[in-house]
Amino acid sequence: MVDLVLQAIVSGILLGGVYSLICVGLTLTFGVMRIINFAHGEFLMVGMYATYFFAQAFHTEAYAALPVVLPGLFAFGVVVYHLLVRPILGAEPLNQILLLMGFSLVLQNAALAAFSPDARSLQSALSMAKLEAGPIIVSVPKLIAFGASLVITAGLYWLLRATELGRRIRAAASDRETAALMGINVGRVNLLAFGIGVGCLGVAAPLIMPIFYIVPNIGTFFILIAFVVVVLGGIGNFMGAFLASFIVAVAESLGALFMPGSTAPVLPFLLFILVLLFKPEGLLGARAR
């Protein structure tokens, strides 16, 4: 039993790394722009299909698609920002979320029409590889995704904390008007925040393609997890989202061990409701920074 629990915790921590890569992008976008990107999961879905078709066409591992998928998704994000997001930056939050909801509906169902609802996965010797450490078995692609996610998240944190660009982004996030008065080009910061948020997914997609199968509505699964994580971490809070990713993933994987049937996915949502009710500012307590 102890081994099973240990195994669940390790799997959860590895999964948490992947969640963190997806969720810090969402929370960054929200922190800077005050917009909940409802289409975040669909951007990931697009990246995963791109990875899948790239790897199929060139008979490569999923990771080889990274140099194409990352800039491609970033560019897609920039186009979407200019066409859809920028025009509604000043609109009511309700309208912003409805617009992005509409966009996610379009992307998800266009994928359904184009690629059919069939689940697809990339399998290779690497994606099946496992490491054994005593009683614990670790899947190699999960370990790779975990390691890469940590590096990327740390890099983003460094970017936000230690560079001039990061200072501008944080300034715009904490007070748009004052930042603008200080000569910061807030429009440009918005674009960057949105681009980085979507760009994170460009890294995540090739990393998780060997772990998850892909279906057109996979975005819904990830966006729900991401909402939970972002709220748990305190909306707009980068470190909060990072930590919450692990809490959610470990809860989910321990739940799979102890809860009946396939009811474990309920746990993150229970957590979500409890946090919204009792600690809406998030676990770390500080509001968006």
Binding site: L98, L99, M101, G102, F103, A113, I273
Partner: protein
């Protein structure tokens, strides 16, 4: 008004089976739009989880019918009260802690997700396999009809009721309180509006009506399962008719449904079954276009054109005054 209703009631006798099917879909969509509109449009509390209330209604009446032979007319009332109680519970939890707007939407979504996962694993209510409602003969008491005209008339009746509720809300004190809450909650409270009571009442009415719609849906489709009922697309479909038509308006949901459903039907007919989600692509695109170019919905658009046609300076006639 009476002439329009009579004409609508006679319509299925002039239409073919498929056209009647499309008409039923329009009426059903409009009905659900009105249900959502009570909470989302009047009280301004966006629910992304209305599929939950629909599922509660569908499951309650179907289980009562299959398990105990209870008429769905009684079952839907039971489902309605259950959904209303659930809605008040969710609403009370959220509103008590000042959760509103988008966050309230996310809470309702989380509850719907929990319900989906529970329903999938709960074998006594059909689990992932779902429930079938067998239909052999016309039986009004058990809400079973062999031909579509029967369903058409039932759904039309419910739509008229929902229109009535909306018209009542527009005129009543409680409706004005809800609008005040939507426009500015703090100001409404300062003026003595019981904000909590207003929101909970709107949630209860909306959830109750939506659950009735769930029973109608179950008996028309004759099959329910967690995957089709409790998913996000269902929740978005329930919202979209009211939003596209005009949030919080008397004619918005009907107008939205009358435009969107046939549009989806045309897309499906012209592109064939191979493109499964194509109607939702169209819904998404229309939703985006409305948000960007006509935030007041089709009703607002018509008013604007109406005002322009009558010349500048003339007050626009509200659509409700025109009919």
């Amino acid at each position: 008004m009476a002439v329009t209703v009579a004409a609508a009631a006679l319509l299925p006798f002039a239409l073919g089976g498929h056209q009647t099917h499309v008409m039923i879909q329009i009426l059903m969509a409009a009905y659900l739009g009105y249900c959502w509109n009570v909470l989302g449009g009047f009280a301004g509390q966006l629910s992304f989880g209305h599929a939950l209330f629909m599922a509660v209604g569908a499951y309650s009446s179907t289980l009562l019918l299959l398990g105990a032979g209870v008429s769905p007319w009684i079952g839907m009332i039971a489902g309605g009260f259950l959904a209303a109680a659930l809605g008040v519970f969710i609403g009370y939890l959220s509103f008590r802690y000042g959760i509103r707007g988008t966050y309230f939407g996310l809470v309702t979504l989380a509850f719907a997700e929990i319900a989906r996962n529970v329903a999938l694993n709960w074998n006594a209510i059909g689990g992932a396999m779902g429930l079938y409602i067998p239909i052999q003969s016309n039986d009004v008491w058990n809400l079973k009809f062999v031909d579509k005209a029967g369903y058409y008339h039932v759904v039309l009746g419910f739509l008229l009721l929902a229109l009535g509720v909306t018209a009542w809300l527009e005129r009543s004190r409680i409706g004005h309180c809800l609008l005040a809450i939507r426009e500015n909650e703090d100001a409404a409270r300062a003026l003595g509006v019981d904000v909590m009571r207003g929101k909970l009442l709107a949630t209860a009415i909306s959830a109750f009506m939506t659950a009735l719609g769930g029973t109608l849906y179950a008996h028309y489709v004759t099959f329910i399962d967690p995957h089709t009922l409790l998913n996000m697309n269902m929740a978005i479909e329930i919202m979209i008719y009211a939003i596209v038509g005009g949030i919080g308006t008397l004619w918005g949901p009907l107008l939205g449904a009358a435009v969107l459903v046939p549009l989806a039907e045309v897309m499906r007919a012209s592109l064939g079954k191979s493109y499964a989600g194509i109607h939702l692509v169209v819904y998404g695109a229309v939703l985006m276009a409305i948000v960007m170019f006509a935030p007041d919905g089709l009703v607002g658009l018509l008013r604007r054109f109406g005002a322009r046609a009558r010349g500048a300076g003339m007050p626009a006639l509200s659509p409700s005054a025109r009919s």
